[in-house]
């Protein structure tokens, strides 16, 4: 075999760098949507590579539901400081206080769906024309249809049946006043690719991804962490378990899995043997068969 070929991770990395540079060249005010989860951390790492030796030319934007893991917030703040970047926070609590959205009622109430309004408000307020996300096409069936450059109309909505065709690597980021784009540099990565890359590059990630002891409750087939926001049902019991998280979202909806994987090596091994998808522990996706599609149409991440 010729020595002039890239392995799959190098090819994916080069593709993501290419996309990030296209975003920078085609838009005026792009930001990276930063949740503190592994995918947005990998996107940030790739942005560092794309513009080296310059620093990342984007701010990070965090949509803060107020229902955070404290570890995520600390990780976010440390990273911002290390990279010398600006942080934009869109606060769901402020959206609630301003009457823009109302808290869901009932036992399974979360702030997940409320984020869309806060996100779109922040995009408008800060005149952001492209929000770069860590979404991957392998995550979910509606995401499988996403473009690298994904158009949003002036209501922030995604129209999956009427997307611009995206051929070769010729991205069309043209928009009219009030519209914006989402860009997904790691569209073609799978969960396994992300973990292999984190391990290869030795990228720092929040401690929540590693196995640790934590107070949890068994609910909807996964271990939901105990927190000040959790309302216990009569039959539910808080116990201490050794768990880790496969994805990070709101503390109220992110389920952990029992695990002893406390190093990147062990996590990669564990993930490669997994027989459940990573979003299987996310109650936000369990609401219906089209839960993700419906949220995305309205402007969700």
């Amino acid at each position: 075999m010729s020595r002039y070929y890239l392995n799959y991770l190098d090819e994916l990395e080069s593709e993501a760098i290419f996309v990030l540079r296209e975003v920078w060249a085609q838009f005026q005010h792009p930001v990276i949507l930063f949740s503190g989860g592994k995918d947005s951390i990998v996107v940030t790492h790739l942005a560092r590579k794309a513009f080296y030796p310059s620093k990342i030319p984007f701010a990070l934007m965090h949509v803060d539901t107020g229902h955070n893991f404290p570890e995520t917030i600390k990780f976010r703040d440390d990273l911002i400081k290390e990279l010398g970047l600006n942080l934009i926070v869109g606060s769901v609590q402020e959206s609630i206080d301003a009457g823009r959205v109302a808290e869901e009622k009932g036992k399974s109430a979360t702030r997940n769906a409320l984020q869309t309004t806060t996100l779109l408000d922040a995009i408008e307020k800060h005149k952001i024309d492209c929000a770069i996300g860590g979404g991957r096409r392998d995550e979910e069936k509606a995401r499988a249809k996403e473009r690298f450059f994904s158009h949003r109309d002036d209501f922030g909505q995604w129209d999956p049946k009427n997307q611009r065709p995206e051929l070769w690597n010729l991205f069309n980021g043209k928009y009219f006043e009030g519209e914006h784009f989402r860009a997904f540099p790691i569209s073609n990565w799978t969960e396994m690719d992300v973990w292999n890359y984190i391990k290869r590059e030795n990228i720092a990630i929040p401690s929540l991804y590693f196995a640790h002891e934590r107070e949890v409750v068994w609910r909807q087939d996964s271990w939901i962490p105990n927190s000040e926001f959790l309302r216990l049902e009569a039959h539910e019991e808080v116990i201490v378990k050794k768990i880790r998280f496969r994805t990070l979202g709101d503390i109220t909806i992110t389920g952990g899995i029992e695990s002893d994987a406390d190093t990147l090596e062990k996590i990669v091994n564990e993930v490669s043997g997994m027989r459940q998808t990573e979003r299987g522990n996310r109650s936000d996706d369990k609401r219906s068969e089209s839960a993700m599609e419906d949220r995305k149409r309205q402007g969700y991440f």
């Binding site: 002039y4 090819e11 509606a142 051929l167 928009y175 998808t277």
Partner: protein, 417 residues
């Protein structure tokens, strides 16, 4: 997973009932790329719809409308990995009105799988799909003759399809065509070798995909480096740094190479090739790097760095095969934005030379209207020169899109003749 594994992108095409979704489901299922919760969801749906057993086609269901109508509306991307390779499938709809989706899926593919129903043989849609694979210069085409279980796994039926296919494919430009008899429903020759077709000596589909020689699919001869953006950090450690950021789209560049910047024509030498992980002595396609030059030259996005001894053509009148992708038909002598690598200019469709009837491959010089899904040879006139290679030589520097300024929509894709 082995670190040196390569990535193979392939597209699948077939008409509505050729069993394309079943084939993809079978590939994912038999290669153990399906997770238990996905399988449980599919089992559930299969039961609800009254299917016997698990309907593998449901794995490729996407949007709500697609589930309700039982069709694929848009290209969906799917992923699976074997110990030998990582695969990206561009799953494209096969209906006549969705030619634009197949062109989209084909544009980045190393290989195309074209499905033929063994009972019906080569039909118009097969010809259309094959023509698009040839037009988009997909290096490898695999014709899967499906539903062999419904023709008693007969070698004659398989050979009949090969003969029909070869009769018309001689008019096409495909370097590598293979034929595999399969049954996606029963799993014959998809991942596992069939026990019903001992007369077939070739490899099953997955093994074929795992061993296609794709290293030579990228042009390694003509160095083409379109500049995406200029990096000027102006921090203490890199005060005078001026790096040209881009992806090497073909060929190899080395430190010390004599280069020319197009279109200005200024020459210099490569001083360094930089990445976050350190400097390189050489870069090859498709690496993303930052290049510095020995001389201060005015370079910006849209320029192209090439070897002085190997340059693309500089043209303002460009002949392209144009595929029209939008409901709004082209207006005569209308102006569009043209995007070619990182370069953006205005262009006008000066002349429609002929339209191709993609069922008969005949050229019609009388019909020059450009409607959705039409493929025509046209001449474009651009406001400033573009640096192009023929699409056959170079899929990146030989491709363009047209954008309608009135709607900002991508309306056409073109391949330089």
């Amino acid at each position: 997973m082995i670190d040196n594994n390569q990535l193979l992108r392939f597209t699948t095409a077939g008409s509505v009932d050729d069993g394309k979704s079943t084939l993809i489901g079978r590939l994912l299922y038999d290669s153990k790329s399906i997770f238990e919760d996905q399988l449980a969801a599919i089992e559930n749906t299969s039961k609800k719809r009254g299917h016997e057993g698990v309907d593998l086609a449901l794995f490729t269901d996407g949007l709500r409308d697609e589930r309700e109508q039982g069709i694929t509306i848009d290209v969906a991307y799917r992923y699976f990995t074997t110990p030998k390779r990582k695969f990206i499938i561009a799953d494209t709809p096969g209906h006549i009105q969705y030619t634009r989706n197949m062109v989209t899926g084909a544009s980045t593919a190393n290989a195309a799988i074209i499905l033929v129903d063994a009972r019906h043989g080569v039909i118009e849609q097969t010809k259309r799909h094959s023509f698009i694979a040839s037009l988009l210069q997909i290096p490898h085409v695999i014709v899967c003759v499906n539903k062999m279980d419904l023709v008693d796994y007969s070698e004659e039926a398989f050979n009949r399809v090969i003969n029909q296919f070869e009769e018309f494919s001689s008019k096409l430009l495909v370097r590598d065509i293979r034929f595999i008899p399969i049954s996606a429903l029963e799993g014959d020759n998809v991942v596992n070798r069939s026990e019903h077709m001992n007369w077939y000596q070739g490899a099953p589909l997955l093994h074929t995909l795992e061993t296609l020689h794709i290293s030579s699919d990228i042009n390694k001869v003509d160095a083409r480096f379109p500049v995406q953006t200029v990096l000027r950090p102006q921090n203490d450690s890199h005060r005078d740094y001026r790096g040209y950021a881009g992806r090497l789209e073909s060929g190899v560049l080395r430190v010390g190479d004599e280069i020319t910047v197009m279109p200005s024509g200024f020459t210099s030498k490569i001083k360094s090739i930089d990445t976050f992980d350190g400097t390189l002595e050489e870069a090859f396609a498709p690496m993303s790097v930052s290049i510095t030059l020995e001389d201060d030259i005015d370079i910006s996005r849209g320029d192209m760095i090439v070897r002085t001894k190997n340059k693309p053509e500089v043209v303002q009148d460009i002949e392209v095969m144009l595929c029209w992708l939008h409901n709004n038909s082209a207006k005569p002598r209308a102006k569009y934005t043209i995007r070619h690598t990182s370069n953006e200019q205005k262009a006008m469709i000066k002349d429609v030379v002929y339209k191709i009837d993609i069922n008969t491959l005949e050229r019609n010089t009388n019909d020059t209207e450009l409607n959705m899904n039409d493929i025509c040879k046209v001449t474009l006139r651009t406001t400033k020169p573009l640096m192009v290679d023929s699409y056959r030589e170079n899929r990146t520097t030989g491709s363009i899109i047209l954008i309608d300024d009135a709607t900002n929509e991508t309306v056409a894709a073109g391949m330089v003749v």
